[in-house]
Symmetry: C2
Subunit: 445 residues, 2 copies
């Protein structure tokens, strides 16, 4: 894993004043990447600092970065840059840190001329996502969902041995702010018989997830040993894995979720690098006594010692009425990415363990992040459910969430906007923020 | 659907003599596309005829095709050309048909100078596959597999209402001839308890499938009505969906197959266009009495009238010993693509029915193609199984296939080569062949 160095020094300040605000998501210690557009210009790679973006294409054109990075940073996706080794990426991080901190830099005027306000930018997907894979790595989420459908036996026998995952749809991954059309689909026949029906999803849900991007890939037929998994990770983002629960329930046997997921998955625009997250790596979740040890290919003391990321997460919601009345978003839940039964290193090593080739820019989702408390449940399916693993109730019994307007929600209504936020924060380091992941639900066609 | 026109005239001959051989897969009536390389040159789009390939980049450079096609045909993947409307593609088909048939063409010398022998070409993937989705559309396959695991209730209640499918892995789709490394993975604990183990797949299998490529796509949030589905199809190929049965059995609940499939999927190099297949479109499989009618969005009399493709398929195998002794491949099974419960039009309409955006070059697999007879079972899982839907036996009882060397196979051994072939043939039209889909199994690492 990347060591903590001077780029993480909490005393380090930038001449970009807004980056020095302690509440900023984007201090000089962060330096997340994005792809953005100004007006109708060609998308460019940028790095965020304070309320600004440095256009890295212009920086590359003007010779501000090392020759080896020029071509990658002139591209309109991050894929080529993602394929660099972590050591190389670190060189660029150190250079950017120095550019933004050095008051006396002769280049400051040139750098400033390549900067744009974040409010003047339109964000694009940060890379071409060759494949998107979604996991199921929160044992609390898996237990909650299992309790609803199999109260006697909520966790399947493979759960504690395998980081369960499935292939997702890459084409419908969209950037924060993209409106999401409520899907129409087949629902199961009534329990007393009859035919299935097709109608707009009535149980539309979000799932609070973290996404992570593959950096360097592996060749087909080769594996990624868990000891090397961190070297193949580029960075992380927020992910809303929208879910149509009624469509899912009817379609998912025997081959897994399909149209219940593939209508849209929203990611936040900033890719926070693994280098920036180094000060927030914490030990992996301690397996309860009696749980099996992971098999050798998923086991590594080094990985266990820093397998977690202390990333705080929250979900908020505004209805259309709330926005019309300028009311603040309703807080729905808070969570932490440390609540993962499987680490991102284990997930990556497992994914490549059969020789499957991972490629720069591939996206993996953690699965819904839920904790032990009701307040930390990462989906409406869990939040409005009246059961828990000790006292499971029938899956349909639900208590709605009441919004400040008096509106009630068991699942999402048209016009609802779901907002996810995430940030790392501890006493000895600057806050590393992820920004926001947003999406408004449009009515079904 | 595209009408049958003079390009299908069985009397039409080409000056490429090998195309006139009645046994050729590639008569002038076929004109399938591929992407190929000569030596270390940049991959080019080609069209196959007889034992030759016309390099369409050179043809485009020399002005042999309409201006509107030039840029697409100079590319090194078919994606851009795939996005043309069917009417436009048909114009190119008619032009190519005329180029290859006209004895007196002044261009013949120029055309010949842009041709290369198929034996001098190395084939590449025909396009960038943005997403790969695999279906489960043969009711006989679904019933066979269901009988092994659920003898009392082989078909799940959704099967006859939904074309069941799941997202696959795009990065590991490889071209015919690519060696396939036997995957290593987790297997279930013994039935009397214990821990799962990780070892090379012991139940390695092939699945005989047909792949089809999306042509024009649809925007996210929009659907493709079944009446228009044919206009969004570009063409078809053979697909071997390699499967690790022991890995699959342990991992697939509750989210579907994952590492059991993602180590490799092999496709044949030629994309046979829907235009070429027009004379072989036949009515969809007649649903047995008592089966439910498809819901409206999957129902279209026009689609039913030509929803099938009369495509004959066969699977052959050679072991390393057989190749060393120069023995002919062992014929394992024969099938026909008409044995599909769901048509490709229904599959496409269903896939986009939730607003999921399909893109030019996306690949869909039919699912294993099995028929009613033992001889038409499209996987070793089914072929060596001693049961049938009337008399299901425990899933583990298997009678091996005996090879000419005396070797026995219940599943694939290292060094085995699986060969799939496909062709359309009827009394009033020339044979339209698909070529071959091949892959040799390498030992696990």
């Amino acid at each position: 894993m990347h060591q903590i160095d001077q780029t993480h020094d909490p005393q380090l300040k930038s001449w970009v004043e807004t980056a020095n605000d302690p509440k900023s998501d984007f201090p000089i210690q962060n330096l997340p990447f994005c792809v953005f557009q100004q007006g109708d210009r060609i998308p460019a790679i940028g790095v965020g600092i304070g309320d600004q973006i440095l256009n890295l294409r212009i920086a590359a054109d003007k010779g501000m970065v090392g020759d080896e990075f020029v071509e990658s940073l002139q591209a309109n996706t991050l894929n080529s840059f993602m394929s660099f080794e972590m050591e190389k990426r670190l060189e660029l991080r150190q250079l950017l840190s120095s550019i933004f901190s050095s008051e006396t830099s002769a280049d400051r005027v040139a750098v400033e001329s390549a900067m744009v306000s974040q409010t003047d930018a339109t964000f694009c997907l940060p890379c071409r996502i060759g494949d998107y894979t979604d996991f199921y790595a929160s044992v609390y989420h898996a237990t909650n969902v299992g309790c609803m459908f199999r109260p006697d036996n909520p966790l399947l026998p493979n759960y504690k041995h395998i980081p369960i995952g499935y292939h997702g749809r890459a084409s419908s991954v969209v950037i924060s702010g993209t409106e999401v059309r409520r899907p129409v689909g087949q629902k199961a026949p009534a329990e007393d018989g009859g035919s299935p029906t097709r109608s707009p999803c009535a149980l539309l849900d979000y799932e609070l997830e973290v996404g992570f991007f593959v950096g360097q890939g592996n060749a087909l037929g080769e594996t990624i040993p868990i000891e090397q998994a961190d070297n193949h990770l580029f960075g992380m983002c927020l992910l809303n894995d929208w879910s149509a629960r009624d469509i899912q329930k009817w379609e998912y046997q025997p081959l897994g979720p399909f149209l219940a997921k593939s209508f849209a998955s929203t990611i936040s625009p900033w890719v926070v690098t693994m280098e920036a997250l180094a000060p927030f790596r914490v030990p992996a979740l301690i397996r309860p006594k009696g749980d099996p040890e992971p098999l050798d290919y998923l086991s590594d003391p080094e990985n266990e010692s820093h397998g977690g990321v202390d990333l705080k997460l929250e979900v908020l919601l505004t209805s259309q009425q709330m926005r019309e009345q300028s009311l603040s978003p309703k807080h729905l839940s808070s969570g932490n990415f440390t609540n993962m039964y499987w680490t991102i290193g284990q997930i990556l090593a497992h994914h490549a363990s059969n020789g499957c080739n991972l490629q720069p820019g591939d996206l993996m989702g953690s699965g819904t992040i839920s904790g032990t408390e009701r307040e930390s449940r990462g989906s409406l399916l869990e939040l409005t459910w009246d059961g828990d693993s000790e006292h499971p109730l029938p899956g349909t019994q639900r208590t709605p969430i009441v919004l400040p307007t008096g509106e009630e929600r068991k699942f999402l209504a048209d016009g609802d906007e779901v907002i996810m936020r995430g940030y790392c924060e501890n006493e000895s380091h600057r806050r590393i923020g992820f920004g926001e992941c947003r999406g408004i639900i449009l009515p079904a066609v």
